[in-house]
C-alpha cells in the first residue's frame, strides 16, 4: 500500500498463439485491451489499423473456448465488424480491441488467424 496512491500496475498474463502454434506469454496491464498488449509487445499477427476503435476488424482473434463465457458479451457493432474479417469467423471469434484484460482473465489464450488484411 503506497501513501501517495502509487503502486505497481497490476497485470494479467495473456497467451498469444501464432497460426504456426508458437505461444507468447505477455503480462498485460489490467484495463488494457488484448489488442494493446499485443501491439505494445510487437506480437505479429495483430494489425489494429484503427487503433482500437472497433472499426477495422484487423485485430481478430480466436478465443480459447474455456475463456469464452468469462468475456463480456459483444455489442452489435463488434458483431457486424466480425463479418468483415479476412480470415474466417468462427463461434469463438472476437476483436481483441474489445477484450479488456482483468484478473479473472489471467491466463487467457487467444489464437491468431492466418491473416488480418
Amino acid at each position: 500500500m503506497s501513501i501517495f496512491g502509487r503502486k505497481e500496475k497490476e497485470t494479467a498474463t495473456v497467451i498469444y498463439v501464432s497460426p504456426a502454434g508458437d505461444a507468447r506469454e505477455i503480462a498485460v496491464p489490467v484495463g488494457d485491451s488484448v489488442m494493446e498488449g499485443a501491439i505494445k509487445h510487437g506480437v505479429n499477427g495483430i494489425v489494429a489499423e484503427c487503433g482500437g476503435a472497433c472499426m477495422c476488424a484487423t485485430c481478430h482473434v480466436y478465443v480459447d473456448e474455456t475463456f469464452l463465457n468469462r468475456l463480456d458479451p459483444m455489442d452489435a457493432t463488434e458483431d457486424e465488424m466480425l463479418t468483415c474479417t479476412v480470415s474466417p469467423r468462427r463461434p469463438n471469434s472476437r476483436l481483441s480491441c474489445q477484450i479488456r484484460v482483468t484478473q479473472e482473465l489471467a491466463g487467457l489464450i487467444v489464437r491468431l488467424p492466418e491473416t488480418q488484411v
Binding site: A53, T77, E80
Partner: protein, 387 residues
C-alpha cells in the same frame, strides 16, 4: 513571426517545411488564418483520433465544410450512430467483398494504357489514375459510365476553397449542390428499380429496425464519390510521382513486385492525399502549454504526423521497405478511412499494370500545379513522357 495559413499556395504544393516548424516550435498552435488549432505531432493526432468524446466530428470533418453534409455522413457523425452506420456499410468494403473489382480495374488500366501509350506522352491524372479509379468506383456504385467526366469535374470543384475569401466560393458550392441533386436522382431511380450496387445497399440497410434517412443515403453516397474520385485518384497520382522522383525505389519495386504493397504504405505515409481534417472540442483541453476551449475547431494534420521523426526515423526519406506501422495516411480511430482495402486493391492492381508497360517515365514540365484545397493535396496534372 511564423504563420500557418492552409489557404496559401505553398501549403498546396509543399507544406512539409511549415509542418516541421509546427512540430518543433508550435506543436499546439492557434492559426488565425484557419481559425482553428493545429496539431502536428504524431502522438497528439493519434490520441485525438482515438478520443472522439473530446475531439468530435459532429460539426464536420473537412477543413472547409460543405453545406448540408454535417451529421449525415460517416465522417461527420459521432458514435454510437456512426458505429452502427459504419458497420453496415463496412461489409461492402472488405477485402473479400471487393475481389470482384480487381479484374475490371485491371482491364480498365490495360485499356487506358493501350490508348495513350502510342502517343509516348500522357497525363497520368486525366489519362490514367482518374479513369481507373472513377471507373472502378462507378462500377461499385452502379453509376452510368457516361457521367464520368461531369461527376469528376464537379468533385474537383467542390473540394476547393477560395483563396481570397478563405472559404468555399459560390462555384464550389454550386458544384456540390448539382452533384447532390444528381445523387438524389440516382437514389430515386434505385428506389423504383433496385440494382446490385452500393447505393441500393444503403437504401436497404437498417439500423436497429430503422432505415437510413434520405439525406444519410445521399450524403453518404456523396462522400463515397468524393473519396473515390478525389482521394483515391490523387493518391495513385502521388504514388506515381514518388516513383518518378525516386527512380531507385521504382526499379526496386519493378524488380520485386512483392514490394508494391509496402511501397503503397510508404506513399500513404510520405504524402497522403488527405493532409488535414478537423474536429471540434467538446471540453477545454490543455496541450503543450496552450489552453484550447470547448467549441474550438482543431485541425489534425495527418501529413505532418506522418513526417514526425518521433514516430518515423528519417521521416523525409522515401523508403519502400519501411513498412510504416500506424501511419495516418488513412486517418485512424473511429473515422479510419472506410476505403482502405479498396484503395490498396485498386492502386496495387493499376500500378502493377502501369509498371509492366511503362517502367521508365519522366516529367515533361518543371513545376507542377497543385489542387487548391485546405483538406486534400494533389497535383492537378502529371504530364509524363515514356522513356
Amino acid at each position: 513571426m511564423f504563420v500557418f495559413d492552409p489557404y496559401s499556395p505553398e501549403m498546396d504544393s509543399n507544406p512539409f517545411p511549415a509542418y516541421e516548424t509546427l512540430r518543433e516550435q508550435y506543436p499546439c498552435m492557434w492559426s488565425e488564418h484557419a481559425r482553428m488549432w493545429i496539431l502536428s505531432r504524431y502522438d497528439d493526432i493519434a490520441n485525438a483520433v482515438q478520443d472522439w468524446q473530446t475531439y468530435s466530428s459532429a460539426k464536420g470533418n473537412m477543413m472547409d465544410e460543405l453545406p448540408g453534409r454535417t451529421g449525415f455522413t460517416l465522417g461527420s457523425t459521432d458514435p454510437p450512430r456512426h458505429d452502427r452506420l459504419r458497420a453496415l456499410i463496412m461489409g461492402a468494403f472488405t477485402k473479400k467483398s471487393l475481389e470482384y473489382l480487381a479484374e475490371p480495374a485491371r482491364k480498365l488500366a490495360r485499356q487506358t494504357i493501350d490508348e495513350f501509350a502510342p502517343k509516348r506522352t500522357f497525363d497520368f491524372v486525366t489519362d490514367f489514375s482518374s479513369r481507373v479509379t472513377v471507373g472502378t468506383l462507378f462500377l461499385m456504385m452502379g453509376l452510368p459510365d457516361e457521367d464520368h467526366t461531369t461527376v469528376r469535374r464537379r468533385v474537383l470543384l467542390m473540394i476547393q476553397s477560395d483563396k481570397a475569401t478563405r472559404q468555399k466560393g459560390p462555384e464550389h458550392i454550386e458544384a456540390f449542390q448539382t452533384l447532390v441533386d444528381y445523387v438524389r436522382g440516382q437514389v430515386a431511380k434505385r428506389r423504383l428499380a433496385p440494382k446490385d450496387d452500393l447505393i441500393t445497399k444503403l437504401i436497404e440497410s437498417e439500423i436497429d429496425g430503422d432505415r437510413l434517412a434520405e439525406n444519410e443515403i445521399v450524403m453518404t453516397s456523396m462522400t463515397l464519390i468524393m473519396a473515390g474520385v478525389e482521394s483515391l485518384s490523387s493518391f495513385m497520382s502521388m504514388m506515381a510521382l514518388n516513383m518518378h522522383d525516386f527512380p531507385d525505389a521504382r526499379r526496386k519495386v519493378i524488380a520485386n513486385p512483392e514490394l508494391m504493397a509496402p511501397a503503397i504504405e510508404e506513399s500513404l505515409r510520405f504524402n497522403t492525399s488527405a493532409q488535414r481534417f478537423r474536429r471540434v472540442l467538446m471540453r477545454d483541453v490543455e496541450l503543450h502549454g496552450q489552453r484550447m476551449r470547448a467549441g474550438d475547431f482543431v485541425c489534425l494534420c495527418y501529413g505532418s504526423g506522418n513526417r514526425d521523426p518521433r514516430k518515423f526515423p528519417n521521416p523525409d526519406v522515401y523508403d519502400v521497405e519501411r513498412r510504416p506501422q500506424g501511419h495516418l495516411g488513412f486517418g485512424g480511430g473511429k473515422h479510419l478511412c472506410l476505403g482502405t482495402a479498396m484503395a490498396r486493391l485498386v492502386t496495387e492492381t493499376a500500378m502493377r499494370e502501369f509498371f509492366a508497360r511503362i517502367p521508365e517515365y519522366g516529367l515533361t514540365i518543371d513545376k507542377l500545379n497543385w489542387t487548391s484545397s485546405t483538406t486534400f493535396r494533389s497535383p492537378t496534372s502529371l504530364p509524363f513522357a515514356i522513356q
